[in-house]
């Protein structure tokens, strides 16, 4: 049972969202990206503002939709979503001055079974790092959990490969993980380019593995572990175990964490005189 104060808090936030949405639309904003009772919604008309909700089922990372808009947009972001937003701004996909960020501090989102999502259990950024308005009480951040990565790192190499082979044997190359990822913003994915022979259309294990290694390497210094990839996978493959390895290495090698700071240059497009040897 939720505490009365919690319910009260959630209701207050929902009201505040609707207020901000109304004033933004009145000022000429093109769209408000938020949540309705079913999931993501796009409000372009003042009359529809009431559809907007806020509750602890608002799991979707709405920043994925931002690059499509040209005009001014309002968007509801949780702590984890705000990290993706920082990366999108850094990479010229979103203009900071074209987005009004309604930041919500959240203490975890529940799935259909009313359990906290795995990623929310060890949330290191429950409060948005970038916002125009911040709603909600700030929870205490926790340490990011790398134990599943460390566990795999301790296995001998043949076992590591077997693990991944087994994991990705279920993959059907639906590309949901790529399509929902906010930092996969390429207009044409390398994997789809026929002429460069990087990949073929076969749904075979080597092809599947190529795709996943490619994506993992590509998002290495942009992945914020928002977890949408894992949530979207129809085959329930725990892909986050792969991306967290890259986050861990990027942190160890270059002291960098994606999504925290607009001013910090991503490590894979910069260098230092005393970088560690590969």
């Amino acid at each position: 049972m939720r505490k009365m104060s919690e319910v009260h808090e959630i209701a207050k936030i929902e009201i505040a969202i609707k207020e901000h949405a109304s004033s933004l639309l009145s000022e000429g904003a093109e769209c408000i990206i938020g949540y309705d009772k079913d999931g993501p919604c796009f409000i372009e008309d003042l009359k529809e503002v009431d559809k907007l909700v806020w509750n602890n089922h608002c799991i979707h990372n709405l920043t994925k939709y931002l690059p499509d808009f040209e005009g001014k947009v309002g968007i509801v972001v949780k702590g984890c979503d705000s990290l993706s937003l920082v990366e999108l701004i850094k990479h010229n996909q979103v203009s900071r001055d074209k987005v009004f960020i309604i930041g919500i501090s959240c203490s975890g989102i529940l799935n259909e079974k009313k359990e906290k999502y795995k990623k929310c259990k060890n949330c290191s950024h429950p409060s948005p790092v970038i916002y125009d308005v911040l709603l909600g009480e700030k929870p205490v951040p926790k340490e990011e959990d790398h134990s599943d990565v460390v566990e795999l790192e301790s296995l001998p190499h043949e076992e590591r490969f077997s693990f991944w082979e087994r994991m990705f044997s279920k993959c059907i190359k639906c590309f949901a993980c790529r399509n929902i990822c906010p930092v996969c913003f390429c207009k044409e994915c390398l994997i789809d380019r026929r002429e460069s022979k990087w990949s073929s259309k076969f749904v075979s294990t080597p092809e599947i593995l190529t795709y996943h290694v490619t994506r993992a390497f590509h998002v290495a210094d942009m992945c914020t572990a928002c977890g949408e990839c894992e949530r979207a996978c129809p085959m329930k493959i725990p892909v986050l175990k792969l991306y967290k390895k890259l986050r861990k290495d990027v942190k160890e090698l270059f002291g960098y964490e994606a999504g925290l700071n607009l001013e910090e240059t991503p490590p894979l497009i910069s260098f230092s005189e005393d970088d560690p040897e590969p």
């Binding site: 913003f185 390429c186 044409e188 990087w198 590509h218 497009i269």
Partner: protein
Amino acid sequence: MKPRIGVYICHCGLNIAGSVDVKLVVEYASRLPNVVLAKDYTYVCSDPGQLMIQEDIKRENLNKVIVAACSPRMHEQTFQKTLSMAGLNPYLLEVANIREHCSWPHEKEPENATEKAKGLVRMAVARASLLEPLEPVVVPIEKAALVIGGGIAGITASLKLADSGFKVYLVERQPSIGGRMAQLDKTFPTLDCSACILTPLMVDVSRHPNIVLLTYSEVEEVSGYVGNFKVKIKGKPRYVDTEKCTGCGTCIQKCPVKVPNEFDVRLSERKAIYLPFPQAIPLKCTIDKEYCLYFQKGVCRLCEKFCEAKAVNFDQKPLEMEIEVGTIIVATGYDPFDASKVREYGYGQYRNVITGLEFERITNAAGPTGGKIIRSSDSNEPKKVAFILCVGSREEREGGLSYCCRIGCVAALKHAYILKSKFGDEVDVFICYTDLRTFGKGHEEFYRTVRDMGVKFIHGKPSEIHELPDKSLVFDVFDTTTNLMLRVTADIVVLINGIEPSYGSDDLARLLKIPKGPEGFLMELHPKLKPIETAMDGIFIAGVAQGPKDITDTVAQAGAAAAAAGALMARGQAETPPILAVVDETTCSGCGKCVSVCGYGAIRIVEKEERGRKRKVAEVVEALCKGCGACGAACLSGCITMRHFTDAQIIAMINAFGLG
């Protein structure tokens, strides 16, 4: 168009054919996809070899050519020209390196060498199938040259270029040109007075209408490419207005500060305001800020007071210049090896142990002793002088130089000659040598002359020098010609120390992006055939900057560098290879990763309009693009194609690698 590939396997005499079974490779190549013709030949790079390729191209309608031979760094350009002459685009050539990377290192494993050669040819065929014709970018060449270093090499190159009608900027970091040759007394083996043969050339430089002389200046930044180098030069302030200074020297007389004189290897003193030597070009005074009382303590200013031309200017600022040149010649010379590193010889501790350069200054009439050969401890003429060769050179110990300095032996003979001609039998001269390398023209005769003068040659290297109470020196040396252990006492011991690339040549090489060899000297493109070219088109090297050599060879090499630079500039234009980046704008997301990694600012984000929407996309500035491919690898989407080194070509080679 379907590829029609011709494959040529070169024997290179026995260099390849001696270990690789070329017939088997030919047979293998003929069965590879798209290959319509496979042949072997003794020397494909020869005239008949190249003619054969041209005839085959025309007769068989070849549209791609593979030459399996020596390294592409050797002959890629040669074969590219062959293709051009047959009407085929030169970028449709692929070279497989089956010599430097195959037949030579695997000489003793002919079967493996042959298998490897087959694999390399297979990879080459895979790449060649995907090669595209490319047109070179033609750039105009600025008809001006930059010569860095005002020693005999720089002076020679400058004069030759200037005489050919080109503008030359000669940059020298010392206040005067002349370099090491200005410090010498006599030059071997003719025993000309060094200053007498050098000074007229220095004057020529100063007077030449085509030469802009920039002394007391350093190169700070170099950008651009062959034909279009932009160079930033900083002129250090002398605190003397060179337009007004007449070189009269009054200021020098009045200056109260005494400073060790580097020109005399610190055997004499100069003032804080000084002329480096009497024949300095330009003959303008310079204030050494580090010792000048005005700069250090805010007092004195006597030079300013007494200068009739009012040339002293303590407020002088550094002069920043930017010039555009078509070619650059690097002639930065050498520094003597620090003999104090060979601790057992006591240089720096014992006053009468001196280096060869110090001996030069002593014998020089304009030197610290007015030409009197005396020893520094008691100013007496020496009765015994010992020379030790190879001090620091050919050393295996850490801190020593591994190579031969090339000039030490004959320099020692020269010094011995001078001593004997001056003092005759009054002086005993010993030369302790490891080898006597007198290979040059006139050197062998010079050696015999010196030997006939009664100089004693000891074939051995002393282990340690000791000083006696009267500051004389004594050492033991084992002479292998007589099998005797000799004890030699000497009034002066002259260490013939080695030579190293000038300090700062490291940084200069980095600025110019030219490599250094293992010994630290600037690296030539090919040790036999391209001794003055470097890895950067349009940048040449000459003199000891490239490697130890005497004045004769330096002058020859400087002339060669001037000729090469002149030939380039005379052509008026240069072709830069069309190995460039190309952006597919339609799929570019404008993320800017490529811009972040480009080391040349050759790619930038611009705004384009597409179907009413504004988009940010990347755009390549072709004139600045060097084709390194950093952007190509940074683009996650694969929007950037690197011409002539495309992803598809590299992947094809990887695939082909795996097939065998």
